[in-house]
């Protein structure tokens, strides 16, 4: 085996507030030809900076030490002009957002040809472009040579980016979160494409991601970063079956998987680069922490095919131990609270005063009921109408059909009565920061539904806000802060507190965790589960992530092109999906570990 990329003791620091703050510390890794290494870590772990420093693409002012060996050259010492020849020719890169990486005013073919021409000269080279587009699986490539980026779908754009990266047949491909932001089925196809190309082209792949479940099936090796340092690395197979570092174990346990009973909670949050603890970085959050963990960073120790930097590595567990199977119980029965009958929504596409009205059906004839304390999951890809369904139920958009809350149709209510009833339906948005006015204090944000409901004395209001903050696991002192100072997970808790302040019967959760890291997601899902249990709250959980929905929901509705194609109890749906689309969704979701 010959190493294509060898990174030795790589450290990167970025200037922040007048001094250099180390982001990546002492990274070592080797990738052989035809091998895929997954560099994994939560946001703030330094994984993206690590990937960028390999190609020396760091922002100005950054300092870099260590060696990066690619094709017999140390990239860390190469002059800028020589480095430019390496980028693109010896190593290709793909990034998270393909639309931002493509020039919207030039055809896709000319952009791919450019990637080739920069290093090889020559003209348009249509033959090579066609070959590349075929390689990355763009159907009918010859007819699409004149198309612009906006004419391609999200998944196809990522394929185009791959074609550009592959134009010069690089020995190394660096892929930074290439599948996040894509629908699960598409993400899976891109993942499989990268895995196939690596074998066919005998290319080394560095795959950077926050999502362990994405790389589980395809990575040969894994390197886990935590707060700038590698905590565990080695064979992917052994890593996923027998993680030895407590962080790896906890993170694997917090991934929602099909049919899981309870997610693992990792308390606390990732330390800021300025405030990394002196000893083991994970010690403050570790359930197995001992006093000496906080004194010094543990040296790496080898365990078969993996290495972990831990004084007290986790014992090898039985493959099935720790994985609680979903208890096989009869589905819970509920008193019907909400009924949705023949709900359809059309979006009027109107242009100007004299433009023709064109109605786009977004949701067609949806009917279901929701019981008190029940969680109904709604899954589907983007554009399937799942958010539209949620918003129609919340009375945010005009719809056809009926929505009945406790047997009263919303259409029959007007004025204050309608307002009071509508308040009993609340929602939590995908992006918690966007859902809060940045110029209001947390306390004001949570108090808003209470204020709108009527006059409460200031003291009672403050007390209520503090109770709600504690309820969602936050410090009551946060009330005086602005939302900009919160982490994503904290902000989403505040959003939940605001929804609870209206004392609702039903909360529509629209992708509540998809902008959060895996460990934060697990904590939040558990919190939502506990609140629903104690308050007999009903949820409508909208998500593209089947595993998350199956973890939370009593019943699942599968939406496809605006229609509910399947609606069944969660366990029954997983055991015997009736619709082909449902089966595909289940297959694309993270499967139970060790199975």
């Amino acid at each position: 085996m010959n190493a294509v990329l060898r990174v030795e003791n790589l450290s990167a620091a970025l200037p922040r507030g007048g001094r250099d703050v180390p982001i990546v510390e002492g990274l070592n890794l080797t990738i052989n030809a035809g091998e895929m290494l997954a560099l994994v870590g939560e946001s703030g772990s330094g994984k993206t900076i690590a990937a960028l420093s390999i190609m020396r693409l760091l922002p100005p002012g950054a300092t870099l030490t260590g060696g990066v060996w690619l094709g017999g050259q140390n990239l860390a010492l190469l002059p800028e002009s020589a480095l430019r020849r390496v980028r693109g020719r010896d190593a290709g890169m793909v990034f998270q957002n393909p639309l931002a990486a493509l020039n919207p005013s030039r055809t896709v073919a000319s952009q791919i040809a450019e990637a080739w021409r920069v290093h090889n000269g020559g003209g348009k080279n249509t033959a090579r472009v066609l070959e590349l587009l075929g390689e990355v699986g763009i159907p009918n490539a010859a007819a699409r040579l004149g198309d612009y980026p906006h004419q391609f779908s999200g998944g196809q754009r990522q394929r185009v980016m791959l074609a550009m990266a592959l134009a010069c047949a690089p020995k190394l491909l660096i892929a930074d979160e290439p599948t996040s932001g894509l629908d699960p089925l598409i993400a899976r196809q891109i993942m499989e494409l990268i895995a196939r190309l690596r074998r066919e082209l005998n290319m080394a792949v560095l795959f950077v991601t926050h999502d362990l479940s994405v790389v589980e099936a395809h990575a040969d090796a894994v390197q886990m970063l935590y707060a700038g340092k590698s905590v565990e690395w080695g064979s992917a197979k052994q890593f996923f079956t027998h993680p030895r570092h407590p962080y790896s174990e906890a993170l694997l346990g917090s991934i929602a998987r099909v049919g899981q009973a309870r997610l693992h909670n990792i308390p606390g949050s990732l330390p800021e680069p300025e405030a990394r603890p002196p000893g083991c970085r994970f010690a403050p959050r570790c359930a197995h922490c001992q006093p000496d963990c906080e004194a010094a960073f543990p040296p790496p120790s080898q365990f078969g095919a993996t290495t972990a930097a831990c004084f007290y590595p986790r014992p090898v567990q039985d493959r099935h131990a720790g994985v609680e199977a979903l208890p096989v119980t009869a589905p819970r029965r509920f008193i019907t609270q909400l009924q949705v009958q023949h709900l359809s929504v059309r979006y009027a596409g109107k242009t100007g005063w004299f433009g023709a009205k064109a109605a786009m059906p977004a949701l067609r004839d949806a009917s279901f009921s929701l019981g008190r304390g029940e969680c109904l999951g709604v899954v589907g890809e983007s554009g399937s109408g799942k958010s539209t369904l949620g918003r129609a139920i919340l009375q945010m958009l005009p719809y056809e059909g009926q929505v009945l809350l406790e047997d009263t149709d919303f259409a029959a209510l007007h004025g204050a009565a309608r307002c009071a009833r509508r308040r009993r339906l609340q929602l939590v948005f995908q992006d918690p920061r966007e859902s809060m006015n940045p110029r209001l204090r947390i306390g004001e944000i949570i108090a808003e539904p209470l204020r709108l409901q009527g006059q409460l004395p200031q003291a009672a209001l403050r007390e209520k806000v503090e109770t709600l903050l504690r309820r969602v696991g936050l410090n009551a002192q946060l009330a005086g802060l602005f939302p900009g100072t919160l982490s994503g997970g904290q902000a989403q808790r505040v959003a939940i507190a605001r929804a609870l302040a209206a004392s609702p019967d039903i909360i529509v959760l629209d992708e509540p965790t998809s902008s959060l890291d895996v460990s934060t997601q697990a904590m939040l899902l558990n919190l939502l589960k506990d609140i629903a249990y104690t308050d007999a709250l009903s949820y409508i959980l909208i998500s593209h992530d089947f595993a998350v929905v199956s973890y939370m929901a009593d019943r699942i509705a599968v939406l496809h092109e605006g229609r509910i194609v399947e609606l069944n109890d969660t366990a029954a749906l997983i055991a015997a999906p009736r619709h082909a689309y449902t089966a595909a969704l289940i297959a694309a979701a993270p499967q139970p570990r060790g199975v």
């Binding site: 005063w353 948005f429 992006d431 809060m436 110029r439 709108l452 209206a502």
Partner: protein
């Protein structure tokens, strides 16, 4: 100059001009308009720090009462324009689509007319006093702000936090007051600052044409104009001070506005 320095300089200069207009006139004990033909057209001296005009009036006192007249018309005019612009813009942004359409076409019609011409037209029609001037200037310069506020309101009203408030029963008025105005605050303050500069400039232009502050009151614009009448005699001490004051107040407004914009521009 860095942004912070510019902002501080703008605020300092603005404060200075404000004091000149509203505090310094209190020190004027004699009648500033009293005519002393014997002392006509004196260059600056110890007795007359800024010299005298062709009627022998003390130029320093004229400038001070002219500053008061200019600012006491321009500031309320800017405030009126600001308030009408914000109100009109919010109304457009929150009204049903057809109302918005009608109001916006109306706004387009107003914007299509060159404001100075309109100003001259109305100035010729109505009796000119300080109140009618405030109304004229105030009602002519709001449309640009109204358009800005309307666009901003449209962009903000679909944001998740507005939807969340509406779900809990927030009225349009509540949304405008609590959410839209607070989110827009930086934009509003920056534009309000520029509007003060605009009002001073428009008033000076009008006064220069004889349609602004009416005699015997003087303003920066009318002082410039009367100096221009005798420019053949090279009365530099009559031209420079009012010209510099107009320039300085525009500079102050511009520096403050730019400084605030740089500071808050990205604060969303």
């Amino acid at each position: 100059m860095n942004n912070r320095g510019g902002l501080l300089a703008g605020l300092a200069l603005g404060g200075l001009i404000f004091c000149l207009g509203f505090i310094a006139p209190l020190l004027v004990t004699a009648d500033p308009y009293a005519i002393h033909p014997a002392y006509a057209l004196q260059p600056p001296s110890l007795m007359f720090p800024l010299g005298t005009d062709e009627l022998g009036r003390n130029e320093l006192w004229l400038i001070l009462s002219g500053s008061f007249a200019t600012l006491s018309v321009a500031l309320p005019a800017a405030a009126l324009a600001f308030a009408s612009g914000v109100a009109y813009g919010l109304a457009c942004g929150l009204a049903p689509a057809w109302v918005d359409h009608v109001l916006m076409r109306l706004l387009d019609a107003v914007l299509a007319l060159p404001s100075l011409i309109v100003l001259l037209f109305f100035a010729a029609l109505v009796p000119l006093n300080n109140i009618s001037l405030v109304l004229l200037l105030g009602l002519i310069s709001w449309p640009a702000l109204a358009r800005l506020v309307r666009n901003e309101a449209l962009a903000q009203r679909g944001r998740d936090f507005v939807l969340a408030a509406e779900q809990s029963g927030a009225s349009r008025f509540y949304v405008a007051r609590v959410h839209l105005l607070r989110v827009m605050a930086p934009v509003l303050v920056v534009n309000g600052t520029f509007m003060v500069g605009d009002a001073i400039f428009s008033l000076s232009a009008l006064s220069f044409l004889g349609l602004g502050v009416q005699p015997p009151q003087v303003s920066w614009g009318s002082l410039l104009q009367s100096a221009l009448n005798i420019i053949a005699l090279d009365p530099w001490w009559l031209i420079l001070p009012p010209g510099l004051l107009v320039f300085a107040s525009l500079l102050a407004a511009s520096l403050t506005g730019q400084g605030l914009l740089a500071r808050w521009g990205n604060a969303r």
